[in-house]
């Protein structure tokens, strides 16, 4: 059997060259004795779609494209790039170069989203498949978090309350960063988890479900749930709901988005939203009953409750602390702020100390996370936690707990509900600055050490398998 070649052709208008290039490659390839399959991405959609298996088995990959296409299916592979017209003109050279790896380009990454455009259902099942979907979501969420976090932090540079004055630059930066980017990070996350599972059909339910998760305060865990729910509900509707062929267009454009988005949204509101409300109320009562009791217990509880990194449970701690500000009790606010700052700082330090344990992307994200941590933007830790929860979450909980105990024991107090290290420049915002910094350092150190320890153990376990 001949060598296997796969190709994608796509031109800008998608009505002529796409198909001519495909025909040339197909004919020439067959004549030369190759087993060739060509996917056309023309104006009327993709045809003759390559499956993940075909791509995996290919000895040569040709991208005869004049426009950007989704190349994630070929991540980590050698591809030969050429214009569609080039494939029409010199099909033989194109095929031979692709197989002989002459002038080919190795695409970054490892094959992440297999079978993406083929059947909506990804071949990967179980934990491994789920991990890939989360990773796909993280990769889209990460730049949003970094942009949002840094811009929000910049707004604090004008003073932690500067953004409250409408029309100022600080206000604009806060609007873009905090309301804009950080406001949509969870929807983006869910949308691309759903997209990874069910392709474009899953996007609507994913992004809306994520937004609902965010607005009911379900945090990034709610976002993951929304993404998976959206993806699989969409798949189910696409596959199980049969409609006459003449109504196929109606199904794609009306039925699938309305049904999937409606179902996911309703589930988020009623099935997830109600319990979150109940738990939030119960925890708030619990915290109130603790105040005045053991400092160490309160510190531990703070740290443990911060496990969801700004999600609904952390919000309980935060809101509790902010509520006490009005009563003139400032120590819990300092402890809560330490809890929120420790995770991104600790993880960032871990990436800086042992870069070899992390991917290039994570190392860059680590640098941003350091700055986000300094600014009390816990979200900086979320991309890491979503990728590797069993390492990151315990490390963060322990670090936050240690940090908040130290903060409470040192009697650190903070009078503002946000701002992070920017508060240092504001007179009297922090009482016992030394105690506060000591608490941060201790917490971050614990998170860093635990992250490195757990990650190393985890990698060893995987390696020995």
């Amino acid at each position: 059997m001949g060598k296997k070649v796969v190709a994608i052709t796509a031109c800008t208008t998608g009505i002529a060259h796409t198909y001519m290039a495909a025909e040339k490659l197909q004919k020439t390839g067959t004549q030369l004795g190759y087993e060739i399959k060509v996917e056309t991405q023309g104006a009327s959609g993709a045809k003759n779609i390559l499956t993940a298996e075909e791509i995996a088995e290919a000895d040569g990959i040709i991208l005869a494209i004049d426009k950007g296409i989704d190349e994630s299916r070929f991540a980590g592979r050698e591809v030969y790039r050429v214009k569609a017209a080039g494939a029409i003109k010199e099909p033989q050279k194109v095929i031979e170069n692709a197989v002989g790896k002459i002038g080919t380009e190795k695409l970054a990454g490892t094959a992440v989203q297999t079978g993406q455009a083929s059947k909506p259902a990804n071949g990967e099942k179980g934990i491994k498949g789920a991990y890939k979907h989360v990773m796909a979501g993280v990769s889209y969420m990460l730049p949003v978090v970094v942009a949002g976090g840094i811009l929000t932090a910049l707004s604090f540079a004008f003073g932690v309350y500067a953004y409250e004055e409408e029309g100022t630059l600080a206000w604009a930066l806060h609007l873009i960063g905090a309301s804009g980017a950080l406001g949509i990070m969870i929807p983006v996350f869910s949308a691309y988890i759903a997209h990874s599972i069910a392709n474009r059909s899953g996007f609507a339910a994913g992004i809306v479900g994520g937004w609902v998760a965010n607005s009911i305060g379900a945090g990034f865990i709610g976002g993951i749930l929304a993404g998976f729910l959206a993806g699989y509900v969409t798949l189910l509707i696409v596959e199980k709901l049969s409609m006459p062929k003449s109504l196929q267009g109606v199904k794609d454009i009306l039925v699938v988005p309305i049904l999937s988005t409606g179902i996911v949204g309703l589930v988020m509101v009623f099935v997830l939203g109600k319990p979150i409300q109940a738990v939030t109320a119960a925890l708030t009562g619990f915290l109130t009953s603790l105040s005045g009791g053991s400092i160490i217990l309160l510190g531990v509880i703070f740290g443990l409750l911060y496990w969801d990194l700004g999600g609904p449970i952390s919000k309980v701690v935060y809101t509790f602390a902010v509520g006490l500000l009005a009563e003139g009790v400032y120590a819990p606010m300092a402890a809560a702020m330490v809890c929120g700052m420790v995770p991104p700082i600790g993880i960032a330090l871990a990436t800086l100390l042992k870069p070899k344990l992390w991917t290039a992307e994570q190392r860059e994200a680590g640098k941003a996370a350091l700055f986000l941590g300094f600014s009390f933007i816990t979200e900086g830790a979320i991309p890491f936690a979503a990728e590797d929860p069993k390492v990151i979450l315990p490390a963060c909980m322990a670090g936050s707990a240690v940090g908040s105990i130290v903060s409470l024991m040192m009697g650190a107090q903070i009078v503002a509900p946000h701002g992070g290290l920017f508060l240092l420049v504001i007179p009297n915002a922090i009482a016992n600055v030394g105690g506060f910094l000591l608490a941060l350092t201790a917490g971050a150190a614990v998170t860093m050490l635990l992250t490195l320890l757990l990650k190393t153990l985890d990698l060893k376990k995987k390696g020995s398998k």
Binding site: T13, G14, I15, A16, H17, A22, E23, A43, K89
Partner: protein, 159 residues
């Protein structure tokens, strides 16, 4: 529904077998005028712009005497074709620098109307067959020209 044929999109009045353009621009303009004759265009200038814009991205003279200029624009009322044979050839800045002797102009509306686009794609693929292209170049009358397409169209059920 009967299967849509290529010739359903190519009106008689949009075919010229006696063209003698001197330049690529003349060839394109004449083809665009032929397209307008069969009432496919809402706005001939807007469509011309789309065709020229496509040409600046890279020549549609794909070699072996064949050119397939095309424009996708909302100035197009319904999808259509115009065809010209050019006995003496015209310099079209083709990929292989050979003069163009057969030209098909494609007009597509700015929608995702699959059936028609598929027909246009089919023609593009069929034109890669040199025998077919040469038969068209030799057609003496517009009727023969259409018949040749119909026959080849029916033979390529696979597309």
């Amino acid at each position: 529904m009967a299967k849509l044929k290529i010739t359903d999109l190519l009106a008689k009045e949009s075919i010229s077998l006696t063209s003698t353009p001197k330049t690529k621009k003349e060839a394109l303009d004449e083809a665009i005028a032929l397209m307008a004759k069969s009432g496919k265009l809402r706005d001939i200038d807007a469509y011309r712009e789309a065709v020229y814009a496509r040409e600046t991205e890279g020549t549609t003279g794909i070699g072996e005497g064949l050119a397939i200029p095309h424009g996708k624009s909302n100035a197009v009322i319904r999808p259509g074709l115009a065809a010209m044979t050019i006995k003496n050839g015209v310099d079209y800045e083709a990929l292989d620098d050979e003069p163009v002797t057969l030209l098909f102009l494609i007009a597509a509306p700015d929608t995702e109307d699959n059936i028609h686009l598929d027909v246009l794609a089919k023609l593009s693929v069929m034109l890669m067959d040199e025998e077919f292209a040469n038969a068209l170049r030799g057609a003496a009358t517009v009727e023969t020209f259409l018949e040749i397409i119909d026959r080849a169209d029916a033979l390529r059920e696979d597309l």
